[in-house]
């Protein structure tokens, strides 16, 4: 009895659960048996070399890619590509993409309110009220009538984050959201994400911003060749990686000073 109760609490706290996830493209295995649990309020950051499958993993979680094996459970409910429950369950999974993917023909306001109105059938007034509130929080109150082309990359990405937040998702997926941005715009987007983390949101982030990962993550997951190779608290993983593969990956982000080796001028 006691045990059952514990399991129950465990399941309630686990928002997302991946079991033996396998993804193949034309017989090439991209994800090779991924097991992962994300708890309520946890911020997990996935790092790894390009082509390791980290972006594909996020796309699978949102059923944008069909999987060839294993299962994805969101609050205990299976996420299956082409499944009947998919439109409903996807509303609980917010996703922000590297390329922003705002609707170019719609204003910022319409970009944000399209889904709450058309998918969740909320009234225009209600959706616009919340959109204004969220735009205010990311510092874009004056942009609601703008079109995406009139915004900078950082502004577009903040709009994309608002567009996701207005759906009230249970878990937020971020797929290299600053990878396409100029350095001076990276910060404004990362600040918004830090703010969300501080609010206790459940987040799964794929990024190459190692300093940001260290600051935001409760847990860092290192992936390589379709496997989770190593995971742990950020300070442990960054400062004392246990595996050779993680060590050599992290070494790419540090540089030895060349001054000592230089001949005296």
């Amino acid at each position: 009895m006691e045990h059952d109760k514990e399991v129950d609490v465990m399941e309630k706290n686990t928002v997302l659960s991946l079991r033996g996830l396998v993804k193949q493209f034309d017989n090439v295995t991209i994800l090779d048996g991924i097991d992962l649990d994300i708890r309520q309020g946890e911020v997990a950051v996935i790092i790894g070399p390009s082509g390791c499958g980290k972006s594909t993993l996020l796309r699978c979680i949102n059923a944008l890619e069909p999987v060839q094996g294993g299962e994805i459970l969101l609050e205990g409910e299976p996420v299956v590509s082409g499944g009947k429950n998919l439109p409903r369950i996807r509303q609980k999974i917010g996703m922000v993409f590297q390329s922003y993917d705002l609707f170019p023909h719609l204003t910022v306001m319409d970009n944000i309110t399209l889904s709450p109105r058309k998918v969740q059938k909320r009234s225009r007034e209600d959706a616009e009220r919340e959109a204004r509130e969220l735009l205010g929080r990311v510092g874009l109150s004056d942009k609601e009538k703008s079109y995406p082309r009139e915004l900078s990359g950082g502004q577009k990405q903040r709009v994309a984050i608002v567009r996701m937040l207005i759906m009230h998702p249970e878990i937020l997926l971020f797929d290299e959201v600053t990878a396409a941005l100029d350095p001076e715009m990276v910060r404004e987007v990362l600040d918004v994400m830090l703010d969300l983390a501080a609010q206790g949101r459940t987040m799964l982030i794929v990024t190459h911003e190692m300093n940001f990962a260290r600051a935001v993550a409760d847990r860092v997951i290192f992936m390589d060749e379709g496997h989770i190779v190593e995971e742990g608290a950020p300070d442990d993983l960054f400062d004392h990686p246990q595996t050779e593969r993680a060590r050599s990956f992290l070494n790419m982000f540090t540089f030895e000073s060349v001054r000592a080796a230089k001949q005296p001028v």
Binding site: N62, L64, L86, P87, R88, I89, R90, Q91, I93, G94, M95, F97, S99, D101, L102, F103, P104, H105, L106, L114, S115, K118, V119, Y147, R149, E150, A160, R163, M164, M167
Partner: protein, 221 residues
Amino acid sequence: MTWDAEMTKMLVDGLRDTLYMVVFSTLFGYILGLPLGVLLAVSDRDGIRPRRVLYRVLDIVVNILRSVPFLILLILVIPLTKLLVGKSYGSTATIVPLTIAAAPFIARMVESSLKEVDHGVIEAAQSMGASNRTIILKVLIGEARTSLIVGVTIALGTILGYSAMAGVVGGGGLGDIAIRYGYYRYETGVMIVTVVILVLLVQILQVLGMMLARLTDRRKV
């Protein structure tokens, strides 16, 4: 033949008949072609609901219809025209073959317009739980509208050209006048006037269509 009031009336009537045929054929062409084009775009391999067999069947049907020369189609569908309109000549009757010729051509243009919509934008809508219906109406058609409007302009111009061909079998309109007077009776003047009117029509349609397309385009400054 001298230029008189009767002549002017004939040309005005011809212009009216031509516009009548072109507008209704395009309208019916879109009533058939738009859903067909959506179905093609959606059911193709990279579409939002891939249906291999359905796509192949539609693809082949559209190709067959598009490869029949319009003059042959005009004659082939006479039984159907008689069934629908009651006669096989005149401008109303010509709307039937014009629509049949236009629909598959329109479907292809709609398909290609919808396929131009950035896949990332579609995935963004999917990730928010949008149904295929919402994606088709709000994302695909909404985002492709500039291209769709250009398509309407092209369709109107092409159907105008077809409608002139229908003059050969007594289809009515300006093409009919050009053939009867200009070709059979060697009245070159009349033929030139009708051709000039047709050229002007295409020009006006083109300018208006492009203007509308530009006005609805939010993607560039």
